[in-house]
Amino acid sequence: MKNLGRRTFVFGSAAVVGGFALGYYAYKKPYKNPLLEDLEEGEKSLNPYVIVNKDGVTVIAPRAEMGQGVMTTLAALVAEELDVSMEQIKVIHGPASRAYFNEVLLTEAVPFTSLDESSAAKNARSATKIVTKFLGWQITGGSTSVHDAYDKMREAGAAARHMLVAAAAKKWGLNQDLLSTQGGFVTGKLDQKISYQDLAEDAVSVRPPKKVKLKNRSDWNILGTSVQRVDMQEKVDATATYGVDVRVPGMLYATVVQNPFFGGPGKYNPKNALAMRGVKHVVDLGELGIAVVATNTWYAMQAAKSLQVDWPKKKMPQDQAGHEQAVQEAFLQSRDSRNRNDGNVKKALAKPKDKIISGFFRSPYLAHATLEPMNATALWKGNRLDVWLGSQLPTRVKYLGEKITGAKSTNVHVHNVFLGGGFGRRAENDFAEQAIRLAHKLEGTPVKITWSREEDTTRDMYRPLSAAKYEAVLENDRIHALRLELAAPAVAASQASRLGLSIPGPDVTIVMAAWDAPYKIPNFQVNGYRVKQMLPVTSWRSVGASQNGFYLESIIDELAEKAGVDPVEFRLAHIEHDACRKVIEKARDLSGWTTPLAANRFRGFAFCVSFGVPVAQVIEIQKNGDKIKLHKAYIAADVGVALDPRNVKAQLQGGMLFGLSAAIKQKITVHDGRVEQTNFHLFDSLRLKEAPAIEVAILENLPSIRGIGEPGVPPAAPALANAIYRATGKRIRSMPFTDQVEFEV
């Protein structure tokens, strides 16, 4: 990995830094505690993560709970250091605030691979934290939550504990060092014992410590164990509140009709819709579509269907062939990035044609298909705005609220509730902006917008379509040279344009999990090409790794086969990184890779590093005639520190199934200027009977903690494709696989 320091800068963070040159003092100065604005009678807040009231301790877990268990794990960080049990605490999302900015959001946007632990790499990552501080984005994404919170939320727990102990010490006239804490109490000499609740009043006036000492791992009681999820009971009782469940007295129910051609506002006559039962208003939201407001969501949806709208089309290719063509054209244009250029690929590939191995791969656009469709509820009344929704970026919702209504920051309240899936979709804000604009127009009336599934699927912001091509030369059964060329629309640029930012320089998402792959190949070049913006694109669970993992791991498998080397041994022969090797070996052993298989059973292997997490997956399939059936799967992964092993396992299994759903079944295509797939009959996911049993092994050899929401996704497609190759001799070169092979259900 030694050569990686001289690579081109990836995300242009220097330019972003330039826009926020507020100086070191401003950087060090903490954001103020947002909880202090909104405390109820008798409540005390010791820092942005801890409230103590008469009922006990409330912990703020300021990342969106969208299924990844983040509320539980983040709260456990505080509980561990505060010496309270998980059963004793209440956990909430808390307010939208810059105080909860995601510090590590851009640590992967540096010209060093995620596995690079050199001091140059560490310094570059550290510099990005100044940028994120000033961006102030409270964002859940990039598998960053645990990485971001690991120190700061343990420190918040330890600092709160320090203040409570100091208050008790003062009360009893004892030296603080003589006191101990357990289960929400401070204990002094003999039978002196006092609850945190009773100390809160005094503790708030204790000066927070400058430095705290965190527990050693060997002293952990909660972290490192599998705890009951704090949201499990209410999710099983059906009492959990998602955005779609929010009820406000006197509310109306709305839905939206948006331009299916992605152009601007349409022309229509609302008369017939307004005459329909239950309909109260038809409100034009300009670029954001048309809202139909009724006394019941179904009335609104019926009326929305009846609207005849003349929509302008967006200037983009109007059919799928045109979109595919645009990807091909990108390869002919100037390069967006060359973040990896080891050795001399051009020279190494100057061989007779029959020595060159080459191939071409592609992947389609994909929808997020969160099971809970996009929705948001808002009320504008008396110069105060309330917004209830599930958001991965609530500070942006707050900003939009201030901008649209002109309300003061302290009068805009964003209530982040449970997300019925996010996968990147809920880091976008179109649905939030619709609700805010609608509520602003219907002053005094609370209103909820719920999208139909059809709107959700046809007006998503998609995982980009993309393509890859490669040329390689083998020498002594090893890869001597590999040139990998990747073309995709730029996700970061598309997202930034909607946030009013422009990102200079190359787009890292195009080459993610490819340029930084840990394979040591003497001549290795990764070129990225930017496809023009057509359909809007955004982060989709694992982002660029979702397609690049498929490409690179299919290529490695193909080259292993040409070299006549076992695919696992072939990978090991090209990887030195110790934690990566151990992950590969673990998956090999867990799956019994070297043991013979039953008749008509075949295995495929894939290994990807994404978001700093090495993950290896093995899929075992059964071939019944011409049909393929998923039989069993195995995962090994290294997260550095597994704070909650059961939850890590659930994320890995879920990630793999998410990747398999896409690999086998899913595509979004364009016909006559609009997305063809409208609902789950045309954009389906695996069902229970199709999901294989999945064994998981979790390793902890990485030097730092990593998040696990996304890294389970990328290896799934190539592991399956590689198994199918072994079963059929057919190399799968595009997704979804069901277009090429028949699966048994």
Binding site: G278, G420, G654, G655, N679, F680, D684
Partner: protein
Amino acid sequence: MKEAVTITVNGTERQLDVDPAMPLLWVLRDELDITGPKFGCGMSLCGACTVHIDGVAVRSCTLPVAAVTGQVSTLDGLEADSLVQTIKDAWIEHQVAQCGYCQPGQIMAAAALLKENKDPSQEDIFAAMSNLCRCGTYPRILKAIQTASSNLRARGSKP
């Protein structure tokens, strides 16, 4: 055009002044504030809206309220049902839910299955459990149903 529709939900008779074509789901959610059944697709494709009618699992998003003839039960209304409680206990034991949005529908589908068949084979479970889960909780749903089945049978064999 207006005519009253009467249905029984969680043991209570409800008179409704709604369009008889309104699907049961939207009556429950927006008229009666019963939000356990979720909206996912509106085409009976995902099962997030699953309720029981006379104990049978029904996808409520496409069923016109006027066509409802039996007793409607929703998960939030079955707190006293010991079979449902056994299933919920198994769901908690296996920590099934992730985002949780599909789980009320999954539990209602599982309850309808176990009501009919206390000892379902894996194939029986596959056939009955076609609800969509985007988080991929399927491995734990399968285990939880097997645990609930075994607990129900253990209880049934007691005098």
